[in-house]
Amino acid sequence: MPRSLLENPRFNCKNSRFYYLIWGGREIFENIIYLDNAACTRLDEQVLEAMKPYFFDTFAVATSEFGYSMGIDAKEALEKARENLASKLGANSEEVIFTSGSTESSNTALKGVALALKEKKGKHIIVSKIEDFPVLNTAKVLERQGFGVTFLDVDAEGFADLEELKNAITKETILVSIQQGNQEIGTVQDLKAISEICEEKDVLLHTDATHSFTRLPLSVKELPVDLITMSAHTIHGPRGIGALYIRKDTPITKFMDGGFQEFNLRAGVEDISSAVGFAKAVELVTEEENRRLKAMRDRIIDKALTEIPEVTLNGSRDKRLPQNANLTFHYVEGESVTLHMDMRGFAVSTGSACFSRSLEASHVIRGIGGDHERAHGSVRFTLGRYNRMEDADAAIEAMSEIVARLREISPLARK
């Protein structure tokens, strides 16, 4: 998508894949190839259709069974959505609460358990170094409030050090929080081994499944995980809604006060339409789709590694999220790459400091032992429902040209 088109006031955005423009009576279609699905996804029309009745028809607040008809209907829709979500995890309905997204879910898990157990058990928690900000920054806040926090090392592919985990757990430890799949480099942790360690040592385990929920198997019947963070915005559902699985009898105290909604764990008027949309989004993810994403991911990785010189894969080759490819293109800077990609109609993301809001290089790339340079040239491609195999090919072809061009002007590139 050329920027000049975007700046034209007559330009009209129809949907996320196609831009439409009437230019001197001529219709021009421009294909936007969106490869930043880890950040946010396009809403699926079927999700919107499922949500609509709860904006205009059954718009009442969810009431108790002794309320009025519309409120009872709303309550039923909310509970149906909860049930669908819970069954995806193999959980009971009462074990799932809706939140405003993964940030709130992870805050509730960490702060809730900390509040509930600081007097009874201890003030020590363990998180991996490469967690996403909701977990990482909540842990840092707890640290400033007097909790002991162990930031667990990860290896060069991003796997948490299990020996270190075993050794780090003490009698004071109340919670371990290790994600299922990483937001940037896609590394999928060995949750089975982690949950077994936690179970053996009798410590609660929280896992952030924002990027893995429905994309990878996760069953609370099979794994002794106590808390799970989920979000709709990564799976073509609405943004602004997430959920937290809380295993029955897990000690947790609510940290935001108000009404008694969500089993008295999350105060506030329930967002029925979003909850329904979330459940619909979960229903729409299929194994076939996940296989398709994985094939595209592998195409991106293989093509980049074979067709472009001096490229390093970030994260594990096999144990990674099906929708995630992250590569460092050495001697070039990521923000320049994303801008060039944008000018050609691709949306991608980078771990470069120049791109980040805090001007800090990706803590994930640095956590796996990468230097600034590795983060500087890292580019993340994340796939979704609306991507096609041709997109993968086109993206790497564009990258090949852009990288060659930027290397021509880079003082670091070998010429």
Partner: protein
């Protein structure tokens, strides 16, 4: 839709001027910012009699504003004498480009520093510089004028971010008026250490935050 970059920045980014190396340059400067990782190399050819910059090229390992500033600054310096070129400021480059986002100041100031480093390299090679200057508070403040405050795009001295500086036995202490957990604290700290740590008589740089 509003983009953070002006049309001119985008033009220079897409098709940067004066890109590449000069073989056997008369002066060469390489500046880098560990805080953001960007790097700029500047090469100059100087007329030995008139001291006019006859050719100038740059290379960039950086973001869009870094590339665009390298492009404009080399345009500005070409045909100027060394003394004139020394006086080109980041502000001038930014104005020529139709403005740069404040948060990008620290990446783009590198191009200006690269040019000055190339000139200094020439002067050193040709015996035009006097002896080494000992580091004083005044030198420190002068150096810190090259550390940008990402909140405003102005340097940290002008925006009163530096409460106190001191230098004793090769140890420099800088007190920054920001809480340690501020969004930009780690980036600013790294930048300060890089700017002062490279001074010839400085052994250690302590950056202290106020809260």
């Amino acid at each position: 839709m509003k983009f953070p970059y002006s049309q001119k920045v985008l033009e220079h980014f897409k098709n940067p001027h004066n890109v590449g190396q000069i073989e056997n340059p008369d002066g060469k400067g390489l500046e880098g910012s560990p805080a953001c990782g960007d790097m700029v190399a500047v090469y100059i050819k100087v007329n030995p009699d008139t001291k006019v910059i006859e050719d100038i090229k740059f290379e960039s390992y950086g973001c869009a504003s870094n590339i665009a500033t390298g492009s404009i600054i080399t345009d500005l310096a070409r045909g100027k004498t060394l003394d004139e070129a020394k006086k080109i400021t980041w502000k001038q480059a930014s104005e020529e480009l139709g403005g740069l986002p404040p948060i990008k100041a620290h990446c783009s100031v590198l191009a200006v520093e690269g040019l000055r480093a190339a000139i200094k390299d020439y002067e050193e090679k040709h015996g035009l510089v006097t002896e080494k200057e000992p580091t004083t508070e005044e030198v420190i403040r002068r150096r810190l004028k090259h550390v940008m405050n990402p909140l405003t795009g102005l340097d940290i001295i002008r925006t009163n971010l530096i409460l106190k500086t001191s230098v004793e036995d090769g140890v420099v202490r800088v007190v920054v008026d920001l809480p340690a957990n501020h969004q930009f604290a780690p980036a600013i700290k790294e930048d300060i250490i890089e700017k002062l740590g490279s001074l010839w008589d400085v052994e250690k740089v302590d950056v202290v935050f106020t809260a």
